[in-house]
Amino acid sequence: MRGRRDAAGVVRRRRKAWELWITIGLLVVLPLISATDYSLHIWTRMAIFLILLTGLNLIQGVAGMTSLAQAGFFGLGAYAAGISAVRYDLPPLAALVVAPVVVTLVALLVGVLSMRLKEIYFTMATLGAGFVLFLLFGRMVELTGGPNGLVGIPPFSIGGLEFTEPIMRYALVAVLAALGAVVAHNLLVSRTGRALRAYGASEPAALAVGASPFRLRLLAFGLSGFYAGVAGALEAFDARFISPSTFDFMTAVLLVVALVVSGAGRMVGPILGALLLTGIEVFAADYADYEPLIMGVIFLVAVQLFPRGVAGELAARWEDRRERAQRSGESLGDSSAPAGTTRTDVGTPAMTEELRR
């Protein structure tokens, strides 16, 4: 019995790693498919979204709390990097370090204030935080350049090496995105990650076991801020111009919806979400006026069809089928085993999946 459960655990972990390999594989393959300046620019955007969503996935998908502050944090990262490079003449590498640190601190502060709230109240608190940041980007004109944006951000450079070629810019973002995905994956399969997942799945059950989820959630929220900070700094050095409208409420909503629709809580969710967001951006360039309407309809349909996200829904179906196959297989071949044990064994993966909803 025990041996079989261990084997199931290995299979589960390998399946999760497989989701990670899709992410990294796509980052490598995309520039091989097309490497024109324009498509490299698109891939770079995609990789920045991937970092943002990987961070958001920690709090949204794993801890199960919707954060509408991610766009604000993204902007804070971009402005922190941009301002330290433009106004304080910091070398880009230092700015790339400063930005995530600043954002993590702010995220921890917001987290301390709001983390004890129930889900919807927490969401609205993060909305408040995101909006304060967004409004400040537009109003602190001396520092941020106001609604006209911050201009004159230098390209990223290490020593004398400037990242101005599109392929270099993509490589920088892609390497960091892959690194971020690996870190997130390792965190999720670790003990901490499983505990976090348990809180997200069933708070009463997790609380009944005895621990307060406060610290773990704060950790997840701080980390999501860190990812947003990195993404923001990369955005600043890639676009070399930032303006508040990039980080508005709509972006916050888009990030959450893209992740939810693709499959929050799964490793493959962020990459699907990033592809979706990039697709929308490319598509929006052609149909500017109809974009919000079409996007809204797509989101409504997607949310109605896949309340657990496309990946979540497919995985749940796959689990169901596997469970059914396993049950029929065991009732045929394993009839000698005590009925109770068999049921527990079969029930475990299904229950985990149930809890995750």
Binding site: T66, V110, L113, S114, R116, L117, K118, E119, I120, Y121, T123, M124, A125, L127, G128, A129, F131, V132, L135, L136, R139, V141, E203, L207, P213, F249, M250, V253, V256, V257, V260, D289, Y290, E291, P292, L293, I294, M295, G296, V297, F299, L300, V303, Q304, L305, P307
Partner: protein, 293 residues
């Protein structure tokens, strides 16, 4: 200190605050019935104000008729919202309903952008353009109308919730929706009525807002979120709290912009939202409810 300026500031605060109050009441009604935050609430204000102003400007419809028509359009939108959210029978948790309301808000805003072609429209006040002198300050007559509207709406809703059968049902839904369903009251019916009421409130708020500013497809989102901050300030789901919260928030914003920090006036609502959620998440007048884990 200049008293004239102070009174001026307070009056303009009350004028906008009354609108926030109407929006806040709408948030409360939906929250009580479904447990979700209705992000379309701000868009109801936009649709109400914009359609009234468009009817008036583009088709020369008399102001009052335009307002009645706008309320009708918005109520229809409310019914459609409910259908879009619950008509497919798949969304059950408040969190997923909330996310779906965001999608609907995007659809409504996107449609309004196409219909209005990004133009702005204005609506005159029903009371004419004369200004009103109060203690050395001058204000538009619309201020008085908005205040009356907000107070009347809150009073009417309070009566409705206390004295009618439907009102009692809606209150029961807020208390324990599942028990109510075992009594044979459909969740969808209560939800639909809640959306009708919320949309009507939003449309009235829009009609009250349009004479103070110009309306465009973009007028709803920020206003709706500020209305939510007002609702939290007063206690989500409590009409009287919403009135107090809305007026207070309006005054706070007006003081901020009247005394030199106009650029940061918009920030006030969200700082208030964060502060009230941190310090007293049930709001000033909220009923005891589990909001923390």
């Amino acid at each position: 200190m200049d008293t004239g300026l102070l009174i001026q500031v307070i009056l303009s605060g009350l004028s906008v605050g009354a609108i926030y109050a109407l929006v806040a009441v709408g948030f409360g009604v939906i929250f009580n019935a479904t447990g979700a935050i209705n992000f379309v609430q701000g868009e109801y204000v936009m649709v109400g104000g914009l359609s009234a102003a468009m009817l008036y400007e583009a088709w020369d419809v008399p102001v009052l008729v335009a307002i009645v028509a706008a309320v009708a359009v918005t109520v229809l939108l409310g019914v459609l919202t409910e259908f879009g959210l619950l008509g497919f029978g798949r969304l059950r948790t408040p969190a997923s309903i909330t996310i779906a309301t965001i999608a609907i808000a995007v659809i409504v805003k996107g449609s309004a952008m196409l219909i209005s072609d990004r133009d702005t429209y204005a609506l005159p006040s029903v009371l004419g353009t004369d200004s009103l002198q109060v203690l050395g300050a001058s204000t538009s007559r619309q201020t008085v109308l908005n205040l009356l509207l907000a107070v009347a709406a809150v009073a009417a809703l309070t009566l409705f919730f206390q004295c009618t059968k439907l009102g009692t049902t809606l209150r029961a839904a807020a208390g324990d929706s599942e028990t109510l369903q075992t009594f044979g009251v459909s969740y969808r019916t209560t939800a639909r009525w809640a959306f009708v009421i919320a949309a009507a409130l939003g449309a009235l708020a829009g009609a009250g807002l349009a004479p103070l500013t110009v309306m465009s497809f973009d007028s709803g989102t920020l206003l709706g979120l500020k209305g939510f901050a007002a609702a939290m300030l007063g206690g989500l789901g409590n009409p009287r709290g919403a009135l107090a919260g809305g007026l207070l928030l309006g005054i706070a914003e007006a003081v901020m912009s009247g005394y030199g920090a106009a650029a940061y006036a918009d920030v006030v609502a969200f700082v208030v939202l964060l502060a009230i959620l941190t310090l007293r998440p049930t709001g000033m007048f909220g009923t005891a409810r589990a909001v923390r884990t």
